[in-house]
Amino acid sequence: MTARYLIGRLLQAAAVILVVTVIVFGLLHALPGGPARGILGPHASAAQIAAFNQAQGLTKPLPVQYAYYLNTLLHGDLGTSYTLNEPVSQLIAQRLPKTLVLTVLSAIIGLAVALPLGMWQAVRRNKPTDYLITALSFIAYATPVYFLGIVLVLVFSQILPWFPSEAPQGDTVLQVLSDPAGLVLPVVAGAASMVAVFSRYMRGAVLENLGEDYVRTARAGGDRPRAILWRHVFRNSLTPVVAMLGYYVPVLFGGALVVEQLFNYPGMGLLFWSAAQSSDYPVLLGCVLVISVATVIGTLLADVVQRLIDPRVQAGDEA
């Protein structure tokens, strides 16, 4: 992997993020009426609305507003929330770690279950257990996270009072992690669809690899099936899964929104949703920026990891 490749990808990523901010900024400001009345409520007078628009720079031409936004962004200032009375960077700093705890734990647990499950299905392909798990995967994939969350709360919090219905209410990551019982239901809700999706990917990838010549050669050479599976097939099957993982970052954030709403866990997803409801432009732009950066980094990391685990990818590019 060359430095040139990395620099090229980083420049691409910066361009993508810039385009995203232009599109989101344009769309937000294209809304008729502007945010003032919505933010200030029906009781606000015309003078208060005018003062708000003036104070927020909303009376200036759109390109000027965007240039101002970009300038403050480059200076590390994401603006101040219209409704939450705090700098956007501070809000994101408070909420993002909480969402990351949820999404990272969901992803780790989801993958820890999905990858072996996919392999196991592939090894036992077209047997009753494979059909059963395939059916369960489809059900899990088709079940909305919201519905699954409600069922989990109903069964494991109300009928069987094993876990609290609320996620941990602490403000810091440490406080959140110190209440593992509170994390169980939200993490399971977040991980379920991931298990469904990635076990299917893994099953397909393993099946494809099991039919490859190198597997036949290894078998002919007397290698044990288990060793072939774990030493060779597993690693090669990870390539498409890793690629998919990078693109899954926005889905994880989307899922977090629902999980956060249901389990009373104010993280990034909920921040984004509330900002969208209240036309809180600075927060919306800040959230979009963070999600864009996370997605770009996710895909970049996926590419890098792909190249590390599968030299064929790099060789293909260089050819």
Partner: protein
């Protein structure tokens, strides 16, 4: 399966079982528990609301009833209005003032303060009220309570008579009830001896006595109030005269109030610790209720059918009515439908097509009251006219249809079309073009199944009359943004009807005059309704002390239909743990933790 592999599998299974057992064991008792003790109470804040303002001077962006309630628990209002006595009235127990004596000519008021002290031992004096007055006078445009022409514009002078007595003079004679309830009640004495400074490092002075100095003090206080992390620690917020102080204020929204041991007013806290809990959604809050971790919460009106699941767990369901009206404003300047909306017969036809009694029962599960005019009907009051009370336009789609056909409209397909143009008695009316379809569109608040059902029901009954009604939905902030006051030539004037009343469209101050709602040019007169006769009646409500003025206004607007009147939903369907006494739920939509107490 080989014999050699079996023990290993068993070991794995045993390890898994042990792990699961440990996890479950760890979870036992880790759930949240009810606080039902005499020392604390857990109160659920509205879904998706984060308390974010401590200063008892609200700026427009922070005007929220929950922020106001918290601030009022820390700094007691000069004159507090609430519903704790059963009707909305001045509650002297939680007010700093003990008397307000109006001059015979109604042009001034002399107010007497009680013998009260700040938490640092300093007395609460007239100077503390003057401090508030000076700040508001100097920076009125940024004060949430400001409406041009009203306070502080109509307060011409403030004169300190003694440390506990002062006089405010007005620009003309006013209705004393209106002045007390809608203007003087917005005053909160502030600790001048601690807050009158222009910066964190500046010394306390009399900076507020000049306009420039007052602006500096205002800016300093507002700037300090933007730091939520300092709400529990900043010395500014420690000088209080209310029944509670802030013990902690989390950026995630949880606020803990602690009883103020130095409080010397009439409404001492009965419960030592009040936990105000934030919730992301009503569903999350209901889960917490079911788990017993909330003492005073709420349910969605659509869940009224499941109220037994709460009553069986030791709760009582107590609807909390609001001092509010609910309506859909017409846009009288809409280029397509404005001319139709200006015809009273057309508005009558619309109003007669809406069966409020059935809507209140079927859509709101009985948690709403039919409202036929500008005065809230969910509570008894002297302001309500007999005309409004008796519904001048009872539901009858046959009548509504006859009204339209009698005025030059013909049903074509399923929609009425104007076929007889002109302003005669049997014609469509001035400005209504031939071929105009009686087809309206509403931009309605999204996110509530009750509102969705309400709109669908209205659509069905209007269709029976031959009136088309299409529904577009958006978040409430978008609805408010996209349905502004406008003139016909503006591109923004395309909206026809607006609905932002899922929790009530308009919450009144104690005196429900309609100055900003229905007066020509009123700040919240979104549809630009204008009638000089109504303007005169509204003016009379603010200047005449007779309740007849309010009744005349109530009757006139019930008949004039400046908006489509709709059922008034309860502010909240409260679910309260048995044993927690609330005294009353304030229909002004504020909560008063000092009034709560555990009775067992």
């Amino acid at each position: 399966m080989s014999p050699a592999r079996t023990p290993r599998r068993r070991r794995k299974l045993a390890a898994l079982a042990a792990g699961a057992g440990l996890l479950l064991a760890a979870c036992q008792g880790s759930g949240t528990s009810a606080s039902a003790t005499s020392d604390s109470v857990n109160y659920a804040l509205p879904a998706d609301f984060t308390p974010n303002w401590i200063l008892p001077i609200g700026t427009a962006a922070h005007l929220n009833t929950n922020n106001i309630s918290i601030a009022a628990a820390l700094w007691e209002p000069l004159i507090a209005y609430d519903g704790s006595t059963g009707t909305i009235a001045w509650n002297k127990a939680d007010s700093v003032a003990t008397a307000a004596d109006f001059a015979a000519d109604g042009r001034s008021v002399t107010i007497t303060l009680g013998d009260r002290h700040w938490s640092d031992g300093q007395p609460v004096t007239s100077r503390d009220v003057e401090f508030w007055f000076n700040l508001i006078k100097a920076d009125k445009a940024n004060w949430a309570g400001y409406n041009p022409g009203q306070a502080p514009d109509n307060w011409t002078s403030f004169k300190v008579l003694s440390s506990t007595k002062f006089t405010i003079t007005f620009d003309k004679s006013y209705n004393d009830q209106w002045m007390l309830a809608n203007e003087l009640s917005s005053i909160t004495p502030l600790p001048q001896h601690a807050w009158d400074k222009t910066g964190a490092s500046a010394a306390v002075s009399n900076a507020d006595e000049t306009a420039a100095g007052a602006v500096q003090v205002w800016n300093y206080l507002n700037s300090a109030a933007t730091s939520i992390s300092g709400y529990a620690t900043n010395a500014l917020w420690k000088t209080i005269d209310g029944p509670y102080s802030v013990a902690s204020w989390s950026s995630a929204g949880k606020v803990v109030l602690s009883a103020n041991a130095k409080y010397d007013g009439g409404e001492k806290a009965n419960i030592k610790t009040v936990n105000l809990l934030p919730f992301t959604t009503t569903t999350a809050e209901e889960n917490a209720l079911r788990a017993g971790s909330v003492d005073y919460g709420y349910i969605d009106p659509t869940d009224m059918g499941q109220s037994s699941s709460f009553t069986n767990h030791g709760y009582s369901v107590k609807p909390w009515t609001g001092w509010a009206i609910t309506y859909m404003p017409y846009n009288f300047d809409n280029p397509t439908m404005g001319a139709v909306f200006k015809q009273l017969y057309a508005r009558q036809a619309v109003q007669e097509s809406i069966d409020q009694t059935t809507l209140a029962k079927a859509v709101f599960n009985g948690t709403a009251t039919a409202g036929y005019g500008p005065v809230p009907q969910s509570e008894e009051s002297d302001f309500l006219s007999a005309v409004q009370k008796s519904n001048p336009y009872p539901f009858s789609t046959a009548n509504a249809k006859a009204l339209l056909t009698g005025h030059g409209w013909t049903e074509q397909g399923s929609v009425m079309v104007c076929t007889n143009v002109g302003s005669g008695a049997n014609q469509c009316g001035a400005g209504v073009a031939a071929g105009t379809k009686f087809q309206m569109q509403v931009l309605s608040q999204s996110g509530s199944s009750v509102t969705d059902n309400l709109m669908s029901a209205v659509q069905s009954s209007l269709a029976e009359t031959g009136i088309g009604f299409t529904i577009k939905t958006a978040p409430v902030n978008t609805v408010l943004s996209e349905t502004p006051q406008c003139t016909a030539t503006q591109s923004i004037c395309g909206w026809q009807l607006s609905y932002f009343g899922t929790a009530g469209s308009w919450y009144f101050s104690a005196y429900p005059s309609g100055d900003s709602l229905f007066e020509t040019g009123g700040g919240a007169n979104f549809g630009n309704y204008s009638d000089p006769a109504v303007d005169a009646l509204i003016k009379a409500t603010t200047t005449s002390s007779s309740t007849e003025a309010m009744q005349a206004y109530s009757a006139a607007l019930a008949k004039a239909l400046p908006v489509i009147w709709l059922p008034e939903p309860d502010y909240q369907i409260s679910v309260v743990k048995n044993g927690l006494s609330l005294v009353a739920q304030d229909s002004l939509a504020n909560f008063h933790p000092a009034q709560w107490k555990w009775t067992n």
